[in-house]
Symmetry: C2
């Protein structure tokens, strides 16, 4: 095998109460990538379609993560990377994570899979750091592991796979404005009230319990963010409108996807997801901002080979 074609999915990080630690994997949107072994040593990015991103390996998240693995593995070959970008950079659904995870996942397959998903996560974090100026794994983990993940700690890196109830669906709306992760980090306070912190960790605990017990109503009651959403939602025009419409249409919860501007909604059943999608589609037009919206099941497999 000298070449693999991959689907590297979009992901939702934070998931309301789980700022910086929780995430889940989407199915309806993702990048395609081709990773190819070359006789010539080193890493090359030979094609980028979809969005205007740097071909220079050191300036491209897929390139930086690839280099991290490459230097560790020190193989007798090189790799070419082709990126067919469908996830818009800066949309808040793990665009950089998909790129960063894709290159290392593909290279690992071509090398005979010497690395575990956790080790791949560590390599991909090097690429992610280029995009967001700090190493984090809350998008990379669900990209590589699938389903819901909890990044328990970064040092040492530890990722937990949390069970996903079978009927859980996501509706993601992406208002076509850009929010940079670094900017949306700046808006956050350095300290929070102990009272709000307690509310937040109570919700994280009950969300994990709800996911384990398939308790959709508890999941709904746990999808609250009293810490980050009050600040970041100000950067997203019509956030409260989306939330109200989604909840009226049967959503279990609505929150900011990663650092925004995308907004995710979780619900039970595909039919409800389409109902929510339609309602938001009609209502958000009043906001007069172009947007994309899609329905996705939770992707239990994560990134995968498609050739």
């Amino acid at each position: 095998m000298n070449e693999v074609k991959l689907f590297s999915p979009a992901t939702v990080a934070n998931v309301s109460c789980g700022f910086d630690v929780l995430g889940f994997c989407l199915d309806a949107i993702g990048d395609e990538m081709i990773i190819r072994k070359t006789v010539e040593k080193g890493i090359k990015i030979t094609k980028i379609e979809g969005y205007d991103l740097p071909f220079e390996v050191e300036k491209n998240v897929a390139g930086v993560s690839a280099l991290a693995l490459y230097h560790d593995a020190n193989p007798d070959c090189g790799f070419e990377i082709e990126i067919y970008k469908h996830i818009k950079p800066g949309s808040g659904v793990g665009s950089s994570a998909a790129s960063a995870a894709g290159s290392v996942y593909g290279m690992n397959l071509l090398l005979g899979s010497p690395y575990s998903p956790l080790e791949l996560t560590a390599f991909a974090m090097k690429g992610e750091a280029l995009a967001s100026q700090c190493e984090h794994a809350d998008n990379i983990a669900p990209t590589l592991f699938g389903g819901f993940t909890l990044v328990k700690s970064l040092d040492p890196l530890e990722v937990l796979q949390i069970p996903t109830p079978a009927d859980l669906f996501a509706v993601v709306i992406h208002p076509q404005i850009e929010i940079k992760t670094a900017d949306s980090r700046k808006i956050l306070p350095e300290s929070i009230s102990l009272k709000n912190a307690i509310t937040q960790w109570s919700n994280v605990g009950s969300l994990i319990h709800g996911l384990h017990t398939n308790d959709y109503e508890l999941i709904s009651r746990s999808l609250n963010d009293v810490v980050v959403e009050p600040f970041r939602s100000q950067l997203i025009p019509g956030f409260e409108r989306i939330k109200r419409t989604a909840l009226e249409s049967g959503a279990l919860g609505t929150g900011i996807s990663g650092s925004g501007p995308s907004v995710f909604n979780l619900c039970k059943s595909e039919a409800t997801a389409h109902k929510i999608e339609q309602a938001i589609r009609v209502d958000y037009k009043k906001q007069e901002i172009p947007f994309e919206i899609y329905v996705s099941k939770i992707n239990l497999d994560g990134i995968k080979q498609i050739n």
Copy 2:
């Protein structure tokens, strides 16, 4: 049935990372109470043994919780309460919660069980509030539900029962000093860093996951408290000594029980629990403070009738 005799167990609240929301129930120590129907209406406390506590109903936590249920039920009878107190007030293992839960649990049995455990929790919280100047349920919930509990919210009151791995044991040491809950609340900061809050909710999430998956090592890695312990441990002479000794003897984790001064240790297997108990027993003598120490399995049933 005109009389019930009860065992109302001690409990450990907070459980390191889960300040104000998590708790678990002990088996080795608890109060005994007798609740008796009387023809004469009203609530009377007719006997208190073990510790010097007020007989005046309005000044006794068991009395206050009893009154809350009594006014709601408005029965054609009255109740007498006898309290055989084994849990020292102010020891940090839910002494007031045991009293507050006991009276309402017994009255409910004698009335034909019209109230759910959740409703009894709400009544018992009225008594608990007398002891700690604020309503909380993190000791009452495990007393009434057994096992591990997460108090998801107080308004509306919601208690989650979290699974308990079968081999989990607790070792609790009670240095014979008194710390009042109200005093140990005063020592806490009103705000905490976002960074520490994230660490804490990551640990809460992973502890719940570890309890669901019987992952003792994960439970161990989750039993960390970066928010409250750094402050409250200063009030407990030799806390770091206990922690070091317990961890060296195989404890999964060590933390402050409730607001202290008791310190709990969790471990896998009864044999390890006795090893930890012995090691602390020898080592804590150097502290020159009298103490009691006991080994307990996790009590899955909670409060129960014993006649």
